[in-house]
Symmetry: C2
Subunit: 664 residues, 2 copies
């Protein structure tokens, strides 16, 4: 017989949620979010049970506890609130509660007028036991209760004491738990900074921030652009790779194979004799300039995110120092990236099957550690789906062990299972299929999947209408209204979203060629000069949208997203609410960038806290206009040339019986 | 860095099904059944993969393998067939297949007319590598292929060889697997005897088998009844407890508290000075008589199942020998069973929280071992939900470790989570809610849950229309037709079913009092005399139904059960098919025991293998009549007074162009 089993511990605990793949991967929360845990807890027979949710920050010795309450069908629920970045452990404990069983049965005995003498003795024993476990005043109080149950008073009097609610409450504080069962797994919750849940990202190429056309921009130029970015209300400024760029097979404008003198090359063809992943491209400035940029940005409320692209140009120092980290071809050369028949000779992939994989992993971890030392806290990882998944799980775990506030955004434009696995492996946020979800059906299906299905426990979507690699057809063809539409969708459907600017706000929409999602004259291969003050810029709309996001707690998380029927395929309606239900936002967007669209939206008033026959105010935070609606069906009309969306705050009227309604 | 990780092994494996609670519990199959395994297998990047399903009988040293094939969206599928009772382990292995990647890319290079020299060298290296792994003739053959790729033939010729399918097949037999990943869990499949999947049970009280009214039946009387039970086509003869019956607080007829002289008592008030769980009630005969009964039954194709009720009458030897196995009350007495205000003073429950739990567990295991030694292979466990769940998991594991063909039927009439947990803990089959599912909606919902939801991997339902404790209202009120209806439902919806007879076939339907499910003059408390040859007996129907079950492979498993629309709430239609689809049975039952009901049934012809405009024969195996149906909609009419059901075998016509159709 296995001596390890506590055969006397009878309760069982199963069906514990949330958990990912049987506890193989952590769930994720941000600081301040709740972890609501449910479990099936039951025992043979008819004994009453008690349950507790146990949790602690990894490293703390002491478990903390939150009560779990019975919610029916043997299911129990409890919750705790996360307080700090790091890894929380949680599990469930369940015990037979003899006093609760005894009390339940005792009440029936009293009602059936049975002889109570032995039952009273049993109750006294249980109270006596609890008194020995109790502390402070409770110990004496419980001993008193026990004495009363055993005393000389009449049976009726003692029976009344036995069922006293004060005794029940005191006993509830000291259940007998030496035979408690504990769920066999300790589950993990990774707690990230609030930015992991709610963030607005802005990407720009520092080398294009020079005000003088043709001059390579620098970190100093970029500094000058910071107030512009901050004024639009972004949280993160994300920079493409800032490292020396290779010369061998350097790509020219529009990805051409021939380069002219002065062509700057692609920042993703990373590494030159000037250095690799821990060096700064000389034309951008110095490491000191970079640190200054990070500090100036932070002073404006902007985190600088670096692009981590684990690949090398043929000129990267690692190529000569560590040829064993690359695939050797039979002709003695190093294998360049290719997708036959296409060749990418300016890029050498790292070989994660290298026999020297341990030193490779350590070097890559070193890249993150280096930039953490420079003050960087956010990383956008380039093509993580082409590097070993086990490596990501290890390196993100390593970094977050000492810097739990670090944020990793996965550029996981890949198949669904791989995209999700990267999130399970530890990436804080992920790019996703949003750029290609444009119709009402597509958006409804996809955002419902992202916000309602089991993957939401670990997968946090960051919605990007465009990136330097992706100029979607919708933006190519829809003109300025299309950009406004996609902005509102991204920023209100997603608590986290990002744009690649100034291309976005200046509505840059020329593809390299028809059918391509590449930009014509893409910044990836050449310098560009942008005029952020162009009168047709969307910057004011962006500023307003980001301001609304900051003022609306409903928009700061994703799980409450809910779509509402609207009788026009070109109009989409959805709402979000905050945890307390105090802040509710309804968004209606015209998905047609060319025509006015109108329709009737259908709202579940009861769920939104509005009484059936009570008018309610819809305050369009975007346009500033307030509408008085009543009933579930209301009319909307949106002209994309004017404003393609309403972002309504629902303001319930709380004192309709008064002359002057009070809105909150 | 954790040295245990093989950092070079890049593939990941997740989403492996079937598995129960993250592998915490085994799945179940019976001998000869397939285990179909699916998994998400993928790797970073674009390398081709190979996958295998690995399995072995626990105790075998060598893993066996079955191929897995790609089924889309990173999902792979493979299967193996179980061959023997016991515990199979299974897992999944996945590897990067460099030759498959190389071949795929090489074909593209050829098409793009690229230079092939380096690629040919790489191919040669891969073939050379495989030659070193190959055995028998393959080693030389692969070395020859390598030589040809490296040889002096033209590039075009060598390119054609490189893509030769013969080479591809040979390479497919020797993939490089030193960097393979293995799924992190070894999952378990418990393989039971075929009876676990397909069984017809018959319960009777041996003490009521005497042909002389008032005389206590014996095992010898029971022997005389065996041909009757066997002739009806049952597989298992289940006997209520055969042990000495307690005297203290012995119950009288109809559960009365007062007993008269000669009242035999309840067999579940178990144990007397004559012995306990390993003794035989003297009035039934001797242990030798019992062994003889088991042998005679087996000769007729009947397994004898014993009732295991782990509780004691106050007279059970354990009460004095092991008072520590019971709960002591403060007045020095032992706690009897009660559900206040009800008292069951004739029964002492065992205390699974006893400090001496280990000796208790061993004693209970000893009970099973004792009866296994007497030739018993099937146990029906009384009220398992009132005994420790951890105990069941341990004891069933212990018994099946040495006697894997043992079958445990759980009398788990309890809440759903507890019922399921008992099945997870190891019970082979389970009683369930069937007795109380009577309407079309109830039956459809419940049997769909049982046969389609995840629980089917471990939960095998055994459908009982009645038991000595349960005379459902439907049988009380519906007369003989109700018994016929419930018989057909149980025996055709469930591959395993059982009846409590002769009460069932003699349509015993008098409740102890209105609103009770107890039988009047229940055999639980008194002797009864039955006349199995009564002309109104359902025995001929039962014999026919069991014969149909044995002849119809479709009815011998449950997962294929499917309900079909029929436009009358009193008619229910469902079909089952065997794995190959050769045997298909459609059952239509009139649920109304009082009136003729008629309606149109709607069949998915294509799925049943019938062409849209081709007539097909429906052969009513119950009535013997053959109908020619065509199209999806066909008429049925059932008179409960004549025959409440059709059990059709679908016979497709395979040579309609001929004068004489050939049916199979």
């Amino acid at each position: 017989m296995n001596e390890d089993i506590c055969g006397r511990c009878r309760p069982v605990i199963e069906g514990v949620v949330p958990q990912v793949d049987g506890g193989r991967f952590p769930i994720k929360r941000s600081v301040g979010e709740r972890v609501v845990v449910e479990a099936d807890c039951f025992v043979d027979g008819h004994d009453a049970l008690g349950c507790a949710l146990c949790y602690r920050l990894e490293g703390d010795r002491q478990w903390r506890e939150a009560p779990m309450v019975f919610v029916g069908n043997d299911r129990w629920r409890g919750e705790f609130r996360t307080e700090t970045c790091g890894r929380y452990l949680y599990s469930v404990q369940c015990w037979v509660d003899p006093f609760a069983s005894w009390r339940r049965d005792f009440a029936k005995r009293v009602e059936a007028e049975q002889d109570l003498s032995v039952a009273l003795q049993m109750g006294e024993d249980l109270v006596q036991d609890a008194a020995a476990r109790a502390h402070d005043g409770d110990a004496g109080a419980l001993a008193d209760w026990a004495a009363r149950l055993a005393g000389n008073a009449s049976v009726a009097e003692r029976a009344a004491w036995a069922l006293d609610e004060g005794l029940d409450r005191a006993m509830g504080r000291y259940p007998r738990r030496d035979l408690a069962s504990t769920y066999e797994r300790e589950l993990v919750c990774v707690v990230d900074p609030p930015l992991a849940r709610f963030s607005a990202w802005y990407e720009l190429f520092p080398r294009s921030t020079s005000p003088e056309p043709g001059r390579h921009g620098t970190f100093r130029d970029c500094e000058a652009r910071l107030p512009y970015v901050a004024s639009m209300g972004f949280d993160v400024l994300y920079l493409p790779p800032i490292h020396p760029i290779g010369l061998t097979f350097r790509k020219g404008p529009n990805n051409s194979l021939s380069t002219g003198h002065g062509d700057p090359g692609s920042p993703w063809a990373l590494g030159s004799p000037a250095g690799g992943h821990t060096a700064v491209h000389p034309e951008l400035g110095t490491l000191g300039d970079f640190r200054r940029l990070v500090a100036k940005a932070r002073a404006l409320g902007l985190e600088v995110a670096l692009d981590v692209a684990f690949q090398c140009s043929p000129d990267h120092p690692w190529v000569s120092e560590h040829p064993e980290w690359f695939v050797q071809r039979p002709d003695g050369t190093i294998q360049y990236a290719e997708n036959p028949p296409k060749k990418y000779q300016d890029i050498y992939p790292l070989n994660f099957e290298s026999e020297d994989w341990q030193s490779l992993w350590e070097a890559l971890r070193g890249v993150f550690l280096f930039w953490l030392d420079q003050g960087v806290r956010c990383f956008r990882v380039d093509n993580p789906h082409t590097k070993s998944l086990h490596f990501w799980e290890w390196v993100i775990g390593e970094i977050k062990r000492t810097s739990p506030e670090t944020l990793f955004l996965a550029e996981a434009f890949t198949r669904p299972k791989l995209m999700h696995r990267l999130a399970k492996a530890g990436f804080t946020q992920s790019y996703n299929y949003f750029p290609w979800r444009n119709t009402k059906w597509e958006l409804t299906q996809y955002l419902t999947e992202v916000t309602k299905e089991a993957g939401r426990e670990y997968f946090r979507a960051n919605l990007w209408p465009n990136t330097p690699d992706i100029l979607p057809e919708y933006l190519q063809l829809g003109g300025r209204p299309a950009f406004a539409i996609r902005l509102v969708l991204a920023a209100t459907m997603g608590a986290s979203y990002g744009i690649y600017g100034p291309a976005f706000e200046l509505c840059e929409n020329r593809p390299r060629e028809p059918g391509s999602e590449e930009y014509l004259d893409s910044e990836k291969y050449q310098l560009r000069t942008w005029d952020p003050e162009r009168p047709d810029s969307l910057k004011d709309l962006i500023r307003r949208v980001n301001q609304i996001r900051r003022e609306s707690s409903a928009l700061q998380s994703d799980w409450s997203l809910r779509f509402h029927p609207i009788d026009n395929e070109q109009l989409i309606a959805y709402s979000k609410r905050d945890e307390e239900g105090d802040n509710a936002v309804l968004v209606v967007v015209n998905l047609d960038p060319h025509h006015v669209q109108r329709g009737w939206v259908d709202l579940p008033l009861e769920e939104l806290g509005v009484k059936a026959h009570q008018p309610y105010q819809m305050h369009d935070l975007l346009g500033g206009i307030r509408y008085l609606w009543s009933g579930p069906h209301n009319y909307v009309e949106l002209d994309p040339a004017v404003a393609p969306a309403h972002v309504f705050r629902l303001r319930r009227r709380v004192r309709t019986e008064q002359d002057f309604d009070y809105y909150f």
